[in-house]
């Protein structure tokens, strides 16, 4: 009798282990990285990083569908931890009933409500950290092609002057939160000025740290946007999940860039920048009310207020900026390029850039300008907000009538 019981136990454990292993392999075959699948106290733990789907919501839904189809004996709940550049970002607790609903096509709003999601991942981090991930995301090189448009309206000699650039970009993750980003700028159309040559655009080494209690630090060094060379340090903190966000930023840079022969051109005057931001998010409609105060690129001091609405990975916003140089107001958008799913991440991969940004100044001059300091974990954070991901699950999994 005892032998039979031990035999049955061994059989169940072996079946469960094989199923977990198959599920991990399936996630890797779908292109997910930093995959961890294990059981602890009879509950299933899954971790992954998405660099396959443009929008994190699409990636999460694919994982949930795969999980619901996998024959893994799970306990009452499944734990899901999503990573970015090897750092844990958001946690989901999925009741087994939800997986059953997905599997039999009866997913409903009640299922979404029963999912617990949080950005507080500190406790989970140590549990997952004990397991080695499959398909590491480090030292893989992404070659991205993006576009940028500068324009000027209203001149009587040419009503719409434009300068369109192609910006090929190479990005790689060197370690947990460490990224190298190098981009080049090629002029495609130009009736705005007489600068037709192509040249290196940005070269940034950045490091992200995830602190306890939803704190984030990003430090970056290199050639930034708008011909700035220097370093930048930013601290971000989320309060009450994504409802409130505060950040403090400090940077020091000088006017400098790499010319077409990759020779540094620079001005020796150093300039320091500091600013602070407070942001409130109306989670029901994914709307951010953001106020930023500090110094800007032309040494101007003032504030920048914006209201933006997120539509998954797309954004529209209204802004008003006022500094000691004047004021400016307008609107803008961030649209995705038409590629929802990239090739599987390999050592070298080609893909389109994440998005295309355009701003329109309705009135005022170009003041209160700031420069981008390369990729950071927090710049992608809005796609990982629990409220955004839960809406994405709801939209994709509830059967359409």
């Amino acid at each position: 009798m005892v032998k039979r019981f031990i035999g049955l136990l061994f059989f169940l454990c072996t079946t469960s282990f094989v199923a977990q292993d198959d599920f991990a392999k399936k996630l890797v075959s779908l292109g997910y990285e930093n995959v961890r699948v294990f059981t602890k106290s009879n509950e299933l733990y899954v971790g992954y990083e998405n660099n396959r789907y443009r929008f994190e919501g699409d990636a999460l839904v694919e994982v949930l569908k795969t999980l619901s189809n996998a024959k893994i004996p799970v306990g009452k709940q499944t734990h899901l931890l999503i990573y970015n550049t090897g750092l844990p970002v958001v946690y989901f607790n999925i009741p087994s009933k939800v997986l059953s609903s997905i599997n039999n096509g009866s997913y409903s709003e009640e299922d979404t409500k029963s999912i617990y999601a949080s950005l507080n991942v500190d406790k989970l981090e140590s549990i997952y950290g004990a397991y080695t991930p499959f398909n590491n995301s480090f030292y893989k090189f992404d070659f991205q092609l993006g576009f940028h448009l500068d324009y000027q309206l209203g001149n009587f000699d040419n009503g719409v002057k434009e300068k369109l650039y192609a910006r090929p970009n190479m990005q790689t993750v060197l370690g947990h939160g460490t990224q190298l980003n190098v981009s080049y700028q090629m002029v495609i159309i130009n009736d705005l000025n007489n600068q037709f040559y192509s040249r290196p655009y940005m070269a940034v080494l950045s490091q992200d740290f995830k602190l306890p209690y939803n704190g984030f630090i990003n430090a970056s060094l290199g050639y930034f946007q708008f011909n700035r060379f220097g370093y930048n340090i930013r601290f971000d903190k989320l309060l009450q999940e994504e409802t409130f966000h505060v950040s403090i930023n400090y940077g020091m840079s000088r006017y400098s860039y790499l010319d077409k022969e990759v020779i540094p051109i620079y001005n020796s005057n150093q300039q320091s920048f500091y600013n602070a931001t407070i942001n409130y998010r109306w989670k029901k409609h994914d709307i951010d009310f953001r106020l930023n105060y500090g110094t800007f690129m032309q040494n101007d001091l003032g504030y920048h207020f914006s209201i933006s609405r997120q539509f998954e990975e797309k954004f529209v916003h209204l802004f008003y900026k006022k500094t000691n140089l004047g004021d400016v107001g307008g609107f803008g958008f961030i649209a995705t390029l038409p590629q929802k799913k990239y090739l599987k991440p390999k050592k070298i991969r080609a893909r389109l850039a994440d998005n295309f940004k355009l701003n329109y100044n309705y009135f005022g001059n170009s003041i209160a300008r700031s420069y981008e300091t390369g990729p950071s974990l927090f710049s992608d954070m809005k796609e990982y907000y629990p409220s955004v991901l839960k809406k994405a699950i709801q939209k994709r999994l509830v059967p359409k009538n």
């Binding site: 009587f156 040419n158 009503g159 009135f363």
Partner: protein, 237 residues
């Protein structure tokens, strides 16, 4: 097969119309209805010579081009560049297309007994000091009511509104009482005809939405000259 293609062309969910001005509306007048939340509309229209007006001049036809977003379930924002046709942009004409904002907020959603009520304003930036007083070409500040009625297989949607000079704008598209009605039949839910009075002229229009997204509208401005619009609309996610 032809019948199948025909049915596909007529099939759709978006029965709400798009006006020539760029906001939700009948032919030219705004209605109180709103597109579903997160709807983006890109479009262009044609207003005939003699009726298109820019700085008190009516010598050329006009072409408004617009982008409209329902940023909240009850809030719509529209940005428009209005082009005067046959007028080149150069130092001689000193002409550049006119731009404007429109903002609409739905105050009450239609119920069995009550109409939809919406307040809106357009080309109002002079009121908040962002453009010169005489720069306003297509001003408006209005309250509008729309109610749907079904009778047999017909749908009848009357609209009545009032354009006020509360913002003291220099020129108005709608000033005083305006109104109209839109008719459709259950067998052609994406097709409608409309008749309206915009506080200056009477217009008649025919509208059809293809594939839920492409809106075509044609009509007679002041029952006299042809006018038209084409717009593409979709929900951003």
């Amino acid at each position: 097969m032809k019948r199948f293609v025909f049915l596909i062309l007529l099939y759709g969910f978006f029965t709400k119309a798009q006006s020539i001005t760029g906001t939700q509306g009948q032919f030219f007048i705004p209605t109180a209805e709103m597109h579903p939340d997160r709807t983006l509309v890109l479009g262009a229209s044609y207003i005939p010579e003699g009726y298109f007006q820019r700085y008190d001049q009516k010598g050329n036809p006009g072409m408004p081009t617009f982008v409209t977003v329902t940023v909240l379930p009850s809030v719509e924002i529209m940005f428009r560049y209005t082009h005067e046709l046959n007028l080149p942009v150069n130092f001689e004409t000193k002409y550049f297309p006119d731009r404007m904002f429109a903002f609409r907020i739905r105050l009450l959603k239609e119920t069995k007994w009550t109409p939809t009520i919406t307040a809106g304003a357009q080309d109002f930036t002079s009121f908040i000091g962002l453009s010169c007083e005489t720069c306003v070409n297509y001003g408006g500040a209005y309250l509008v009511l729309t109610k749907s009625f079904n009778w047999n297989q017909f749908k009848f949607k009357p609209t009545v509104g009032y354009g006020s000079d509360v913002l003291s704008l220099y020129r108005y598209d709608f000033l005083g009482l305006f109104g109209g009605a839109e008719f459709s039949h259950q067998s052609l839910p994406n097709t409608s005809i409309s008749l309206e009075y915009d506080s200056k002229n009477i217009h008649v229009g025919l509208s059809h939405t293809f594939f839920n997204r492409l809106v075509l509208k044609a009509g007679m401005w002041d029952l006299n000259k042809p006018a038209a619009m084409i717009a593409y609309k979709y929900q951003i996610w």
